[in-house]
Symmetry: C2
């Protein structure tokens, strides 16, 4: 569930969103977009959680890979449906990951 | 709920975590840490969501502000309790936000 990413530097897209009440076809499309993202060159991983606010962070090996994914035609059509139907508002932040560290409890 | 951040560049800390079943004092501490973060110099905003995975993204005006927050004594004590009690695993990614865009539905 926590993405296994390589040593920095790499890139992250932080997608923060508030949904509308219209759930029509949303889950199917979100699932399809996650599957499709995984097939893209330069894809490194994805992490997602939603309460009232939704946060999805996808990881990529370059800014070029992020741009290619943005220009993917099926993804573009899904984004257009997103602004028409599923999202009240969203914010996209493109980031360079410069440092990282982690923790994992040892098994008993 | 979506953080209002200034024009890039600025910095983001992506904190991704899996919790243990021990909820003792967790919510109080999480709330206190959010309040305390807001008081730090260079703090820009925070976004948070949890399902099985929790994602909290905090935004800062410099890497120095992130380091100061990491070294804050109350925050350090809370993090130590985090690894002892509340978290099964977590990952921290420190990022430079280089580009962003947003969308907001027009009111009817």
């Amino acid at each position: 569930m926590i993405a296994k990413t390589p040593k920095p530097p790499y890139y992250a897209v932080i997608f923060t969103s508030i949904r509308t009440n219209n759930t029509n076809n949303y889950l199917e499309t979100a699932k399809r977009m996650e599957e499709l993202a995984k097939l893209q060159e330069g894809y490194l991983g994805i992490e997602s959680a939603r309460e009232e606010l939704g946060i999805t962070v996808s990881y990529w090996d370059s800014l070029g890979a992020i741009l290619n994914w943005k220009n993917n035609i099926e993804h573009t059509i899904a984004r257009e449906k997103g602004t028409e139907i599923w999202y009240e508002s969203y914010h996209v932040r493109i980031c360079k990951v410069v440092r990282e560290y982690g923790f994992k409890k040892e098994s008993d």
